[in-house]
Symmetry: C2
Subunit: 340 residues, 2 copies
Amino acid sequence: MKMSATIKDVAKLAGVSISTVSRVINDSKPVSSEVKKKVLDAIEELGYRPNEVARTLVTKKSFLIGVIVTDIGNSYVAQMVRGIEEVGKMYNYDILLCSSYGDKETELRFIQLLNRKQVEGIVLLSEIVNEEVKEQMNLLNIPFVYLNRYFYIEDFPTVSIDNHDAAYEMTNYLLKLGHENIAYVTTDEELEYSLEKLKIAGYRKAIEEYGKYSEVLCYTKGYNIEDGYEIGKDILNLKHTHNITAVFCSHDELAIGLMNYLYDNDIKVPEDISIAGYGDIKIASTYRPRLTSIKEPYYDIGAVAIRWIIKELKGEELEKNHIKLPFQILKRESCAKLEE
Amino acid sequence: MKMSATIKDVAKLAGVSISTVSRVINDSKPVSSEVKKKVLDAIEELGYRPNEVARTLVTKKSFLIGVIVTDIGNSYVAQMVRGIEEVGKMYNYDILLCSSYGDKETELRFIQLLNRKQVEGIVLLSEIVNEEVKEQMNLLNIPFVYLNRYFYIEDFPTVSIDNHDAAYEMTNYLLKLGHENIAYVTTDEELEYSLEKLKIAGYRKAIEEYGKYSEVLCYTKGYNIEDGYEIGKDILNLKHTHNITAVFCSHDELAIGLMNYLYDNDIKVPEDISIAGYGDIKIASTYRPRLTSIKEPYYDIGAVAIRWIIKELKGEELEKNHIKLPFQILKRESCAKLEE
DNA sequence: ATGAAAGCGCTAACAC
DNA sequence: GTGTTAGCGCTTTCAT
């Protein structure tokens, strides 16, 4: 098993010094065309490929961005990672992927790990609140973007949509469809730092402005499809006790779970009840009926996050530490006009 | 901005040589406990973290595995990557992720890139046939596993289920439900190296053994949900001309697309027609009605692939170059007993 | 048990 | 335009 060729081998074969070879491969200084040819030939003959590890050691540029995610199996996470990776590649950056599965300690461990691997920046895609992460990152002193779909982050760069406005607009849309008693499905968890605070405020504002009816909040145990399914019974009750005609779920996952429950219990969407989601995850437009939702541009969020890091790496000082991206109300069949 | 501490700084602060520090952090040679303490204290005080890049340069171990995927946005791909990453982490390996989006040249480029980054092994998760990849990989001389859900790979390590048997069993299951005219939906593409060859053979075998009816093949343009949707009209035709009562799709994506078409055209599944898929992607059990399918254990496929690489890295010579994992027929509501 | 020194493969002054 | 040399931060003989 022969070792792969090094710059020395190339230099020897071409009969030049290693610096000349370096100049040729990096195009860093002028090299006479005859010498250049000799070097190129030698490279070709030996199948030489520069060792990026050695290069990184001296240049301090690893062209690596660490990405810590909760679970790449979540479609919204995958979309963000796509954005991160694709834009990263445009600038020659590669992605080092770590999955924390939502564990606090694991997030911390991965930050250390990525640091040792000399990544130039980190995107943390979390679903929890982790104050220690902030301390750690401040020590590391490398560009860092903190993405979180459930909680807001202070003092650190973040990318998201305007959650208040999004919830407000969706509620108004449902109102416009003729629904007056609209339930909002949110989570049971404590609301400190929760984006639900903002979203509930947006929902509430629309309800209050409308003036005729009052809000109906419905609590789940979590944010997953199963949690949405479990809330099904409660929704059915609300339909009878409060004459709920539309349900606005704080996450598409909940909406899909709820629709599954309704399907399994022979309740028709949107004929019997309208359902709206939040996020526009992949399944929203695949499911039948298609789910009315708010498009959170996951791909773009990832793309913007990494572009931010790369800009910082280039020395550009960015002022704002929270970028807001536009959202969109996607009107699909799961919400229908209420016929009296 | 202070640079992070190096082994030299630690040595100086602890008043020992760098070799001693190295011994402490690697636990590679005995060090007297008093010296050890001094070193540990110095490390603590400086917040020293070993530079893995420098370490890699001398040890030749990067603890990096390159993973080239088509698109992490595909749920089956994400599941495989989960398996790869999770098992990798157990052995301290990290994942360098690259998305080729199905482009041949990009696959090749990434192999070179990963090589330069000194990855110790590569998992290629492809959806095309790319002979050049094999040549390239043979030159690289590092462990390599070639995963492909659509085509079979010769002369290279691969992990999959037994596609022939899986299709055979599913067809038998449908037959057992009372369906006699079962259409098989496959792709239009040339079948060289296609796994469809094996799957069609399995389907055919079951049909022939049953003896009473003959096969009905239905061709799509591709493997996606949209392709499944497009075939809807043809299926409806077959229902009338050939009295088709069940459709076995070569991929879950096609089945979901088809069910969407049927939903949009008020055909009930499974009342009017039974639908079976292949793969058990995430949406199969979320969609309503739930899709009867064949479980391809994507997570396990990824896990086995990387374990293979790691074993090879440890010097264990593996004999077989194709591992077959067990599959499972998942019986769900999209297929019903045919009542006469 | 500890230190000195070589060297991993490369870049970047610095000479000429 | 090209070669020489000094590191980058670490591990690993080889002495002591």
